[in-house]
Symmetry: C2
């Protein structure tokens, strides 16, 4: 066991306590009221990066939430450089959403840390910070340079990250970018994600009457906006679960038999799907398996909809307005701009003259692929093998990390998606959790990876 | 001018100030937090009834909100008796719904009193209280007995009124029941409603996954409950605006040519509809005119729907649940129980196995008709003529007052719908208002009516 791994063993409880402190700050990036908490989290991380011995630590302001940057470049110009990306912002969470503990009061139960952001992504990025702390501890001099880029806007589309990356190419220069913001199907079989879906989001608003009306007095003569929006939404999918927007699948590349065979290795069983979702019956494109529908096919999902009176009780209102939030997950070769336009135009075309419809599309990013044949990826494979005692498998993931293609494009460096979470951690749901063993193995695996990269492998 | 009318003239500003006090109490019956305000309003009314000289005033507890009862029976057993019904509870209202003033801080602008409940129904019932105050003032001895029944649950389905009426038939005995809880199309042409629609409401809940899921990780394999509910709602109407539930129109009696001709007299013009609703284009059953669609035809309206993340910002969630609130307005000969079962069964039949759907039906009441040939109605016609200087017309109204058929059945007395509001008062909407002139004419017309009834007409 290396000195760094000994350090992890000796300090693990302390690391966990620090992670709890980090999880206590409700850094909800989408919420204006939490802007101060987001800022406070950036400061907390900068302080910790400073404390563990990085050479430079900065909190970089953006027109939105700040970016935390830190570097240790003591290995010299000839050594390899690893850029570690993560995000410190989190999704909204309220106890009333069904949480057992308060979402920002982390609680350990049955070997898991329950808190918003525990897995997505504070726990994962913090594993790297603790790995770097371990390699720098007691005068440690790793033979690899280490840089951190931790943003506060991932959950709201990484709005200001691209500008920062483009403007700081020299500073961010690296031989490999590591992103730990994804999950594995099970804790026992390590896996490495090599493909992520792209994303675009849109707000659809239907306006009808100028104000809410009495449904008894005007009902029957006014096209109800909630009904009209439901009619629009109902036309976005075909009865078999495929997306009904013309042209939606036009640019999707067919899955090769080889790829289907590799993906089959991490396929979710019907039982596992039922366990993870609790839904009564599988749904979706019948010619694709569950793991293909969620990982290798584009989707259109209604993330939320509301209109009229939907609180407890009853109000016989004919509402003035209804609105929906829709996102599309995209696969390789689909252009977010093209798909956004297709969906918007389709919605506008099927909107009747009895209502006013507006569709605001916000582009996320395209799908991303990672080359699995690079030496850096081989170093990662070995690190996982050392950390888990088992060779990792390769898989696709349905989520989206727009920064992947950003790094590939701007920094011209290979990206490794070193996921340390589990798929059923409940990211974005109530009772999000992070397995304590994943945190421990994640720290150790990260150290193995730095060592492998430092050895010039 | 009679002494009572002189009294109104002299005290009108004072009456208005009292109405403002009444409107300041947020007696929102559907809201648990406002239960105390509802109670306070009952007490306020009981105090005022006591003050104006009624013989008996009671606040009757029910399992829900209390009923205020009061009577003046000084005209003796041989005199006619008028039972005046109204309600003191109101719909919910928040400034953020689009109100100019705080909804419970009444404000007079351009001859209208703006406040929640100003028209529906505090202003209307208070006009009767002030009319009775006027006829009793200065030792006045009207030749008619007067009873008040003012409930606090009209906006939540008059849940406990039927039991009270059935249990108090002797006490409530009357020769005519007057209900002032409806509107006229314009302030210059008095009108009397002779038909009201029935109502039933239902809560539809669609459950899918056990918890909210990450839409990137599970989207495409789970039937999204918001989408599924939208698909259900979209199937409830045909493309022409008619209700698609099989059997929905089976018991509807055809409109006679005569009735259509009488209804045509108060028909809303296209321009008036546009002005009142602000909606881009008329909608609904093409073979019926607007005033027939809203007054003489049954409807199915979505009063509200929600699911997922619908607040500002974005949350890429695949929601566990979506729900909708639906109400049907019914016409004569339609049985609420039959229609409720038809709609529930239809929704259950079209719900796919990929979700769990529940439908909870709450019955309101059947449609009501009032005989326009009774002597009591003729007294009302004359009272309106005196109050307005113009003969009233007869019309149907789209709203529902379940108590009408309750009174007809239990008390075996004719009902007069003495509406004192205007159709565009914004009942149930933001900026509800009551025209000061309607309040004044309403008080005077009520006095003419009591006098006409007292004269044995």
């Amino acid at each position: 066991m290396s000195q760094a791994h000994e350090y992890v063993k000796a300090h693990f409880e302390q690391f966990k306590g620090q992670l709890f402190d980090l999880l206590r700050i409700p850094s909800i990036s989408t919420s204006v009221e939490h802007a101060g908490d987001v800022e406070r989290t950036a400061q907390w991380l900068a302080d910790d990066l400073q404390r563990i011995g990085l050479h430079t630590v900065e909190i970089v302001s953006t027109p939105g939430h700040p970016i935390v940057y830190g570097e240790w470049i003591g290995a010299g110009l000839d050594a390899k450089t690893i850029l570690i990306y993560g995000h410190y912002d989190v999704q909204p969470a309220l106890k009333s959403d069904g949480w057992i503990n308060e979402p920002f009061e982390p609680t350990e139960r049955d070997g898991h840390i329950y808190a918003r952001g525990s897995s997505d992504d504070k726990g994962q990025v913090f594993a790297h910070i603790k790995a770097v702390e371990a390699v720098l501890a007691n005068g440690g001099k790793p033979s690899v340079n280490l840089k951190f880029l931790i943003e506060g806007e991932e959950e709201i589309g990484s709005t200001h990250l691209a500008d920062f990356v483009a403007a700081n190419r020299a500073k961010l220069q690296a031989d490999v970018c590591v992103i730990s913001d994804s999950g594995m199907p099970t804790p026992d079989q390590p896996s490495i994600v090599y493909a992520l879906r792209g994303i675009l989001t849109m707000d659809v608003v239907v306006n009808g009457p100028a104000t809410d009306l009495h449904s008894g007095v005007y009902g029957g003569s006014v096209h109800n906006p909630v009904q009209a929006l439901a009619e629009i939404i109902a036309q976005l999918h075909n009865p078999d679960g495929s997306v009904a927007v013309p042209g939606f699948y036009d640019d999707v590349l067919p899955l090769s038999d080889e790829e289907r065979a590799e993906l089959q290795k991490t396929a979710m069983t019907e039982a596992a799907w039922r366990q993870a979702t609790g839904a009564p019956k599988q749904w979706g494109e019948p010619e694709f398996a569950i793991h293909e529908r969620t990982g290798a096919r584009p989707t259109l999902e209604i993330n939320g909809m509301a209109g009229g009176y939907y609180e407890p009780g009853f109000k016989t209102v004919l509402p003035a307005k209804a609105w929906a939030k829709i996102s599309c997950r995209l696969v390789a070769n689909q252009d977010p701009e093209v798909i956004g336009t297709l969906v918007r135009n389709f919605i506008m075309n099927i909107s009747p003259a009895t209502i006013h419809t507006t569709v605001d599309v916000a582009l996320g990013g395209p799908a991303a692929f990672v080359d699995i044949r690079t030496p850096e990826m081989q170093a990662a494979v070995r690190a996982y093998e050392q950390g888990w005692g088992k060779k990792p498998v390769f898989m696709r993931e349905g989520g989206s990390i727009p920064v992947v293609s950003e790094f590939q494009k701007e920094l011209n460096a290979p990206v490794i998606l070193m996921g340390l979470g589990l798929n059923d951690d409940g990211a974005h749901s109530a009772n999000e959790h992070f397995m304590v063993e994943m945190f421990r193995k994640g720290i150790n695996t990260a150290i193995y990876f730095y060592e492998a990269m430092g050895a010039g492998e």
